[in-house]
Symmetry: C2
Subunit: 343 residues, 2 copies
């Protein structure tokens, strides 16, 4: 997978992944293909329905292709069963293309569990990696903080946390352009002695890992931006992420409640809404370019089910970046280095 | 500890617990004693310093007493060591009074770990309870959601989570006046099959417990108020709580950042600040009456180190409530019932 910076990156988009399909993936793919001539976008899904959306919008781009399949994974399909039950799903076909070197990356806003399990089964894992991980970007006073893992593995061993830290460090460095990113281990206090069994054992290993490990981080350090990458097991990370995502909802609810108090309050809130929108923008998943699935031997970007065309476009550009910068190769090297140190 | 509703409740306040001592505990105690003649407030700490604060404020109340001790636990003292090292600390003396039936409750805004360990060692646990738990109140679209545990036990067994659920249910019912409170188990998805090893095992036991168990709750259910009580291990809960507490800080930072953009933005933010304060009030620890430590054989209310006199007053009233409503007796009965069912 050596790629010069001028090489065309081929991105397979799961046209049937998400809550608004095929419309949003197709429109997002069209926007991305129109803006960026260094990528080929391949829409995988029912050809007629994809073409209909493209026709309505008068899209006709040379770097936008279609690979037909009628089957697709729904949000209700069980990840453990659907892999066998729907071998020709758009998700599976898109991943097969990557395995067969017909594509360089996958973008899907579909069933997260299915994208995770299909990607792991189809692409395998990077050499030396025991568990793949899903990350998330949260807003911070410092820009943003990445959290790994947010749900790929609920019961983690200490060495899994170390893998997440190494992968997160490389992702923060090359994708977020953070120099020598600060890696923190989420725990119940700053002191080395604070933590649960798994985090205490991971701490020892992280001190020796080839990363800028700054010790334990507390829950508040995520939004404060004290660390660039926060590491925890997927159970904690998933609960954390969903809590953080719901902050915006609670605030909207509180502001609406206030506006409902009377005419003046409504007017006041109406006047404030533009300001608030700007301030809350960072809480918005749309801007984040999807969630990286790291550790698989390929590129897989997972999006929110509600992804808009704009969000899909951002995910496609993110996928291009991850492929072009050869993030996986860098991960493989760092894992090798860590195994030598931590032996 | 049978108490009729007219009985005087005696509350020992750790005058040296917190970041602003003895001022804030003393002033809060004085406010509480002045407003409520059904309580006796006992300030435990250095008599001279306490009297000086009272004199400055011209306080002279018959239901405000002082028990002298010079020693006290600092925020930096290690909980595991300070119990032996400072036997006459204000915290320890206040708890000894409760054990010797000279007080009915403790209020402290001091070192959380020390309040937890001292309370457990001095008061013992309620019969049938394996682990004490610290709870927290988070704002929700529905008023508020209680989370247990937020840091008392980082590695929990499934039966600990069940105890937390039972204690939380009683606390929500009697203190928060929630009828048949909905208890959710924090996890990575709604389905019963989703969770980590500990939560999956706890799920089975919770289904049979004498509570209104509504199944798994996700991180977003806390702020949405889908459940009244959310249960998790202390590692996850502590990280979660500190993340939630820092939301207000991030918002303040974002609003300040906006205001710094120019004169008009500053003016605009100045005009909005009152509105925002009202809306954010629910995120503020001051209103919450401290954090209950449940499971110990006595009453122990833990406050934020930064507690203002107003926050201390609220904590004292919360302590009164917990003692007067005999929450511990109700917990003991429910735990007995659960043991019969879950045998």
């Amino acid at each position: 997978m050596t790629q010069e910076s001028s090489k065309i990156i081929r991105i397979a988009v799961d046209a049937m992944g998400g809550d608004f399909t095929p419309d949003n993936p197709v429109l997002g793919a069209a926007e991305a293909a129109a803006e960026n001539s260094n990528i080929d976008v391949i829409l995988v899904g029912p050809e007629d329905r994809i073409k209909e959306v493209l026709r309505k919008k008068n899209v006709n781009l040379s770097n936008l292709k279609i690979v037909h399949t009628d089957e697709y994974v729904t949000m209700d399909d069980l990840p453990a069963e659907v892999f066998k039950a729907k071998p020709n799903s758009s998700l599976n076909v898109a991943l097969k293309m990557q395995r067969e070197k017909e594509a360089d990356a996958l973008v899907s806003a579909g069933n997260t569990g299915a994208v995770l399990s299909h990607s792991t089964l189809r692409l395998g894992r990077i050499q030396g990696i025991g568990r793949a991980t899903i990350g998330a970007e949260l807003p911070s006073m410092n820009g943003s903080t990445l959290v790994f893992d947010v749900g790929a593995t609920v019961d983690c061993r200490p060495d899994h946390l170390v893998e997440y830290a190494i992968m997160g460090s490389i992702f923060a460095k090359y994708i977020y352009k953070k120099d020598n990113p600060k890696i923190g281990l989420l725990s119940v206090g700053e002191e080395k002695s604070k933590g649960n069994e798994v985090s205490l054992a991971a701490y020892e290993m992280l001190e020796k890992a080839p990363i800028n490990f700054v010790g334990n981080a507390e829950g508040s350090d995520i939004l404060k931006g004290t660390v660039d990458v926060a590491i925890c097991d997927g159970y904690t990370g998933n609960i954390l992420l969903k809590l953080a995502e719901s902050v915006l909802e609670l605030l909207r609810f509180k502001f609406r409640e206030y506006a409902d108090k009377g005419f003046l309050q409504k007017l006041w809130m109406g006047m404030m809404s533009g300001t608030l929108k700007g301030i809350f923008k960072k809480f918005d998943y749309e801007e984040q370019g999807g969630t990286p699935l790291l550790g698989v031997n390929g590129v897989s970007i997972i999006g929110h089910g509600k992804s808009t065309p704009y969000a899909i476009k951002k995910m496609i550009f993110r996928a291009e970046q991850v492929a072009r910068l050869e993030i996986n190769k860098k991960i493989e090297e760092a894992i090798k280095e860590n195994k030598l140190i931590n032996k």
